[in-house]
Symmetry: C2
């Protein structure tokens, strides 16, 4: 083997250095939000991240304070025309009735058992609450997790014919990853059931159970026949994590004010207010469902009829403008909506 | 400059490799628990960490599941003869009475205002609850944080004449750091007030607020005169994080079963049971206060009179033996107790 001069060794080290530098620079210049169209919404996210994570920036935030909270239904995934957790509860009714046959002829279980979709669509909020309590409680935490996993693996959204867990918004998944890559800890703060969302949040959003805050009931510690301890889910509400319950839940479960918060409906109003009322740079964003073709368009802010789910009234739109929140137009700001679409 | 053969470049790369390998090996050989004497307690910690974090080990645990929970009072810091949070509440009474003069002649506030330590020591649990409710609630979350910080900066333990935050056990601080360096997420699960402990947990233990689970009350969202939203602490108990409340609190706030749990009294029994009842390698440890000289010795397991704080009855000792929990003897297992001691 021919001897190669020392300078060559140096050159190699430089070459490696240059490659590394190129890699870093290429990385820094890679668009972290490729599914977003250029515009004020994308710009708001990028400017916020740069301002709060760049050392020496006047708006720099100490890394320990990098907290970002996301509503789930309608903000991270499709919630129209019905929350998927409600679908789960309706699908669970036959198993509950089998275990407690006395419910068979009692409303609202009778209507659900009839399978009459039209009648089911007319169930009141109070009826739904009865169904939720019956299907989400009275079983152990482990049984509940097993049931939800089974359901998620089998259930499909009627429009896209895909598992619900595939109906997450790609642009929001990019925001989650971008924030985490920039040192933010991402939390879900959902009006949905905390235990329900925790079953899949890690796999679907990369968010571990301990970073999922949601509507939560109490559990009861007890012992099985084998002497092993277990927890039973009780119909005792501890946190109604919607509206004012969102900042209250954030205090209970996180203990500090977020620097960024994302929502899509009146249920997120207080979370966004609370976030934005903090000192320094704070980001508050609202997803507006204005894309009837690729997803859905609903809410009076569009002059369209309001619905039960994800209401976005004019008052919310006005408050967003007044308080400097950024409204994300699905139609204009999102290049792609789902990962499965090309 | 003389040309150096290619082989030298290779040698350099090897040399760097060897240095790196040495570095890693040197790191692995550094004792992560220098304040512990060799013995079964230290060994239990090290073996647990190695078994659950070494890829290929039959007891390897996926990194996302690396959860460890620690009681605080008597486990991470001194809680004898009185919880420091109770000291805080007693010290707050004059300010509360000043704001509400009608309390001046009402028990138990009258006794506290008298300054008669002997009479104060005789206050009942019910009296203490009244004092806790009056001093911990009815103010905003921000005011509360400010008051606790002020108190912590000024208050001193009567025996060591040092701030309470210096009275943490060095061997346990080493366990916290060792677990985190091994990829564990460390949580405090305390019977004490969640909001109280969160004020200093990050600075004192390196544990952020969102990883502190404790006895928690509700808050109420509202608006100040300036229109800014804020949260007020309410006397509405959401979680009594003691005894069975500990596994219930772990489910509520963390959402998965710990692999390791540390406690020191009957209040930790269910947390340790619940941890140990999980599959695979699980570590359950109890700190036994048997060092009258360097700290305190108390609890009937030592044939000593029980006290209100941190009871360690014989039944707990028996259960520990039966269920494979490790009892840590402060006297025998800890070389040093406090960082300020040489």
């Amino acid at each position: 083997m021919k001897p190669i001069p020392f300078i060559s060794g140096i050159a190699r080290i430089f070459a490696i250095g240059a490659l590394l530098a190129l890699g870093v620079s290429a990385h820094a210049q890679t668009d972290p939000l490729p599914s977003w169209n250029d515009g004020p919404a994308k710009q708001a996210v990028v400017e916020f991240v740069q301002a709060t994570t760049t050392q020496g920036s006047p708006k720099f935030v100490p890394p320990a304070e990098h907290i970002a909270t996301f509503d789930q239904d309608g903000t991270l995934w499709v919630s129209h025309p019905m929350y998927s957790q409600v679908m789960y509860c309706l699908d669970r009714v036959p198993a509950v009735v089998k275990a407690k046959p006395e419910l068979k002829n009692v409303e609202p279980f009778k209507t659900v058992m009839s399978g009459n979709r039209e009648a089911m669509a007319k169930l009141s909020m109070k009826d739904l609450e009865k169904i939720l309590a019956a299907t989400l409680t009275g079983i152990s935490v482990d049984e509940f997790n097993t049931e939800v996993k089974k359901w998620l693996a089998a259930a499909k959204d009627p429009r896209w014919k895909r598992p619900y867990t595939e109906l997450t918004y790609l642009p929001m998944q990019e925001v989650l990853k971008y924030l985490r890559a920039s040192g933010y800890k991402t939390f879900i703060v959902t009006g949905g059931g905390q235990d329900f969302v925790r079953v899949y949040a890690e796999q679907v959003y990369g968010i571990p159970p301990e970073q999922v805050v949601g509507t939560a009931g109490g559990t009861k510690y007890g012992y099985g026949k084998d002497g092993k301890p277990f927890l039973t889910k009780e119909p005792r509400l501890l946190l109604n994590d919607d509206n004012a319950g969102k900042p209250e839940g954030i205090h209970l479960m996180i203990g500090r004010r977020p620097y960024a918060a994302f929502g899509n409906s009146t249920g997120d109003r207080q979370m966004l207010e609370y976030t934005k009322a903090g000192d320094g740079a704070r980001l508050a964003m609202l997803v507006l469902h204005d894309d009837a073709k690729r997803e859905y368009a609903y809410g009076p802010a569009l002059g369209l009829p309001d619905t039960k789910v994800g209401a976005f009234p004019q008052a919310l739109y006005d408050q967003a403008k007044k308080q400097g929140w950024t409204v994300i137009s699905m139609k204009n700001d999102w290049k792609r909506i789902f990962a499965f679409e090309q």
